[in-house]
Symmetry: C2
Subunit: 239 residues, 2 copies
């Protein structure tokens, strides 16, 4: 059976303005490969309500899972929860269970659960909460959309909270071979091999080290036996 | 006058599988901010012809510029040039000027310009070449789509080649203030300030250092005088 598909939506002006380098896509990509969910697309958009709604609707309709990062904090530009609720056609309000989690956290840390922080208890109707062991304010899953924080440490904790609840598939098996030849010199034989293994993906990544050209050939696929077979042939051709 | 808008399209299985961390978006974001072109969206997709065609058509129709990275090397999975030609409705073939650039480079480096490498001279009809001072094989601009290599060193060189030919706008001015208070404690006053400056963008990025909560407040906009004004008020409120 084919693996479930997924997309990632990164929400934040700070990425598109060049201030911040997105780290969450790379983390999620690795975690999804491990559990056998195929990440097919990532989009990065700004903190713009119309853009968020359009992207959530398009991606949640196309893929089996959509993971979002960013825009669920306490400030005026944290509009992801409301935009996702609108995109999914449900209402949103402060929810008692989310409020209780926040109240407990701020009580213990001696900070005030003020109006701004209470916004983080706004949860779309019918959503289930995603646990945040770092800073309490929860993410949530509504339909096939998993809404998580942008701060990498919190995002990673939320991914760890939500992934065990999802049905994965065959983990992506990856093997690679380093060939001391330029990419243009391996291309023809690599194409022939790729044609023999239509269920595998063959990537080639050129590099230059101490002035010499080399190519890192990567074979990826869900079937480990097939990947082994291709690697044996690769080694015979280029080894 | 409003700044020109742009999108970025990163093409490559290696990003979505978690093997490689995309570095090109962050580089382009910084360069575009400097010349006053507003990066509004980034998409990362796999080396899939249908996906590339759909993304190129959608993004080139929505934004004034589209920059792509990846998939223009010599191997079987380098299908970006052909997919972009299809998306833009033009033919593609080996072009003499691109072939001459490659022939000269491989002659000088004592390597063979074989059939695989010659694929890198495939240029859509009507495109102009983007200079590649690193490894010769050119990028190209067709319509409002700028097609560049995925290897970061080459991508960056191509960005440097193409940017001077584009009309920019007002560079994005950015200033920031570090406040030793939690994000939830600055949110209310920050929202009031943001409402006073609708032409500016106010971002807030929480952090924890030595156990203490802090927030980095970032003010962005095309009008430097306005940004200065907002920073003065910020400092009065939180300083």
């Amino acid at each position: 059976m084919a693996n479930p598909t997924a997309a990632m939506l990164v929400i934040g002006d700070e990425i598109l303005s060049g201030r911040t380098r997105d780290a969450n896509t790379h983390h999620l990509a690795g975690e999804l490969a491990r559990v056998g969910i195929d990440l097919r697309e990532t989009r990065i958009i700004s903190d713009d309500e119309t853009a968020i709604i359009a992207a959530v609707q398009a991606l949640s309709a196309t893929y089996q899972h959509l993971f979002t990062s960013g825009g669920i904090g306490p400030t005026h530009d944290d509009i992801t929860a409301d935009a996702v609720a609108f995109a999914m056609g449900v209402s949103i309000d402060i929810r008692d269970d989310a409020r209780a989690v926040l109240q407990d956290y701020y009580d213990r840390s001696g900070q005030e659960l003020n109006a701004a922080r209470l916004r983080m208890a706004r949860i779309p109707e019918g959503a289930s909460l995603i646990d945040n062991p770092v800073s309490a304010a929860p993410g949530f899953t509504i339909g096939n959309v998993h809404v998580m924080a942008g701060v990498p440490r919190i995002f990673e904790a939320m991914v760890a909270s939500v992934l065990p609840s999802l049905t994965g598939g065959s983990p992506l098996m990856t093997q690679s071979l380093d060939v001391h030849r330029g990419e243009g010199d391996v291309a023809e034989q690599l194409a022939e091999l790729a044609a023999q293994f239509p269920d595998l993906s063959f990537g080639s990544y050129p590099y230059q080290r101490d002035g010499a050209h080399g190519t890192n050939i990567v074979v990826r696929g869900a079937d480990g036996v097939l990947v082994d077979k291709a690697m044996t042939q690769l080694a015979r051709i280029f080894g």
